[in-house]
């Protein structure tokens, strides 16, 4: 009797845990549905093409062109990658291949701390230090593509560094030993053996960093200037998709609010494409092993 009871409880537990395990997928599905249901009707009503390639954003006069914001998001993200990728990879290679284990144990938590600092603090640092510096030395309003790129470049460093370190450490040490035994220097080993072997993980880290840069909101609002036009130089102000939502959400209503959800749809699609790409590249790596 008791035994039967226990067995039934086991089955119930297993079933309950399976339900709980689907919470993340369910939440993802619900978020997707809500954003699309509120965001896509207006896109089809006014034409998807107009949304994606329209240059004018006058939401109260039913003109919803998002091209300046799409360009803006892509520009600051590209800028962040140009700065963040070399620094991130350099740190990862230095910490795995050239530093002592003790130094790595000190520096790695410090870099993880970089990931913990709230984005508003980064934005604030941009406002009080970087923006005035750019205004005084390079000209322009200071609030600019350049300022946003630099701050985002710093913000994506922890993502790039920690995932690259993991994938470099995952390369079997026999690869390294073999190369060193053949007389290659450390750097030759890194360049010709380690980096190619860790390639898919490193690419995944860059894609995830990209996702973080495109999705960042508060820091960008504070330092990018938020002007609605396609910037003609890196010193010009710019508005991103995320800023567009956050800046106008507070007072928008009716079609204007729907248009902001449409902005969310575009952002969501970009992020999901990046996530899937990162997932495929790291799955490739897992299969290789």
């Amino acid at each position: 009797m008791k035994k039967h009871h226990l067995a039934r409880n086991e089955k119930l537990t297993r079933f309950a845990l399976l339900l709980i395990a689907f919470s993340a997928v369910t939440i993802l599905a619900v978020i997707t549905i809500f954003i699309f249901v509120d965001g896509t009707p207006i896109m089809f009503r006014h034409g998807v093409k107009k949304f994606l390639f329209g240059l004018d954003w006058y939401p109260t006069e039913q003109s919803f062109g998002l091209l300046p914001m799409i360009t803006g998001s892509l520009m600051v993200t590209l800028g962040a990658l140009i700065l963040g990728v070399p620094f991130g990879l350099a740190c990862a290679v230095f910490l795995t291949e050239f530093s002592s284990k003790r130094l790595r144990r000190v520096i790695k938590p410090v870099i993880e701390l970089l990931a913990g600092i709230p984005s508003v603090v980064y934005g604030f640092m941009g406002v009080v230090i970087l923006v005035p510096f750019i205004r005084d030395t390079l000209g322009g309003p200071g609030l600019s593509v350049l300022a946003a790129s630099i701050i985002l470049g710093i913000m994506i460093l922890p993502t790039i560094i920690s995932i690259s370190i993991d994938s470099l450490l995952a390369v079997p040490s026999t690869y390294r030993d073999g190369s060193i035994a053949m007389g290659a220097t450390r750097w030759q080993t890194v360049r010709m053996v380690m980096l190619p072997a860790a390639r898919s993980g490193i690419i995944a880290s860059i894609i995830l960093g990209m996702g973080r840069a495109i999705g960042e909101t508060m820091a960008v609002i504070m330092i990018a200037g938020n002007a609605i036009s396609i910037p003609n130089s890196i010193l010009a102000p710019v508005r991103t998709l995320t800023s567009n939502i956050a800046l106008e959400m507070g007072y928008a209503s009716g079609e204007h609010r729907e248009a902001l959800f449409a902005t969310g749809v575009i952002l969501f699609v970009i992020i999901m494409i990046l996530n899937t790409l990162a997932n495929i590249t790291s799955a490739k790596r897992a299969r290789k092993k």
């Binding site: 226990l6 709980i20 809500f34 970089l114 406002v127 995320t242 959400m249």
Partner: protein, 278 residues
């Protein structure tokens, strides 16, 4: 141009060292800058008094309470879900199509920007379910954001518990659930707590998702249905609207100190956890 490999190696090493040094220097600069400007503002008065006149003077007490309430609400929802998912993934199944779907879902959720969570929380909790701008809406939204972190760290912690622990428990006649709840989970606890603390850090610093779901009312919240302003939102508003720079620095310093303490705690726990099982 031919460079002697040894010389090339020396140059590369120096350049890499320089890049790493700059990265660390940036971090140290940010922290030192905020603390030097902000800590002089942080007194007992500052922490224990409510903001006066939109935050121009007074303290930040109500925003500290708001932050704590929102974080607690998020943890109450996300911890059972996250740990449950981790137990299922690590103990009750092997790798198959279902686990791949679950993992993909968690990874995607981790990549979704906070502003999308904010939009979603606003439609579902604030308007459709009628919770309004409240601790409940904000806490639930944050719970969804931190869920992937809790799943990932808990699963790693559970998998790190040696298989022999389970074998001994089974050999004594325990069922699966008895083994999980009385042997595996207690052993994995420090690792799970690490994930929870990391999520606290994320909740404290979050702004975009919170501002549209919990609102920005400065009064002390009286129930889970009250709107409340967190420290991060307060700091953003102080700095963006230029209300008071010294109050902004003070709030930033409190935020940064909390994050420092949280990271130190996770680091300490992790070290202890790793040492125990290796």
């Amino acid at each position: 141009m031919y460079l002697n490999p040894r010389i090339e190696q020396k140059i590369v090493r120096t350049v890499l060292w320089l890049f790493t040094f700059i990265t660390v220097a940036i971090l140290v600069f940010i922290i030192v800058f905020i603390l030097r400007k902000g800590l002089p503002v942080v007194t007992w008065e500052f922490l224990s008094r409510n903001p006066i006149d939109m935050g121009k003077s007074g303290g930040i007490f109500s925003t500290v309470i708001g932050t704590v309430a929102l974080t607690l609400m998020a943890l109450l929802v996300a911890t059972p879900l996250g740990v449950g998912t981790a137990i299922y993934l690590a103990e009750y199944t092997s790798e198959n199509r279902i686990t791949r779907i679950i993992r993909f879902g968690a990874e995607c959720l981790a990549g979704i920007p906070s502003i999308i969570f904010g939009l979603f929380g606003f439609i579902l909790f604030v308007t459709k379910l009628g919770f309004g701008w409240s601790i409940l809406s904000g806490g639930l939204t944050l719970a969804f954001m931190i869920l992937p972190t809790i799943i990932r760290t808990s699963e790693e912690a559970i998998r790190a518990v040696p298989a022999s622990f389970r074998q001994v428990s089974f050999s004594l006649g325990s069922t699966k659930w008895q083994t999980v709840s009385r042997v595996v989970l207690p052993s994995a606890l420090p690792g799970i707590v690490t994930g929870v603390i990391l999520s606290i850090g994320r909740s404290i610093g979050e702004t975009a998702a919170v501002i549209f779901t919990a609102g920005s009312v400065l009064r002390l919240p009286s129930s889970v249905f009250s709107s409340s302003r967190t420290m991060a939102v307060h700091f953003y508003i102080l700095a963006r609207e230029g209300i008071s720079m010294s109050m902004a620095y003070g709030t930033a310093a409190v935020l940064v100190v909390s994050i420092l303490v949280i990271n130190l705690a996770t680091y300490y726990l992790m070290e202890k956890f790793i040492r125990r099982y290796s």
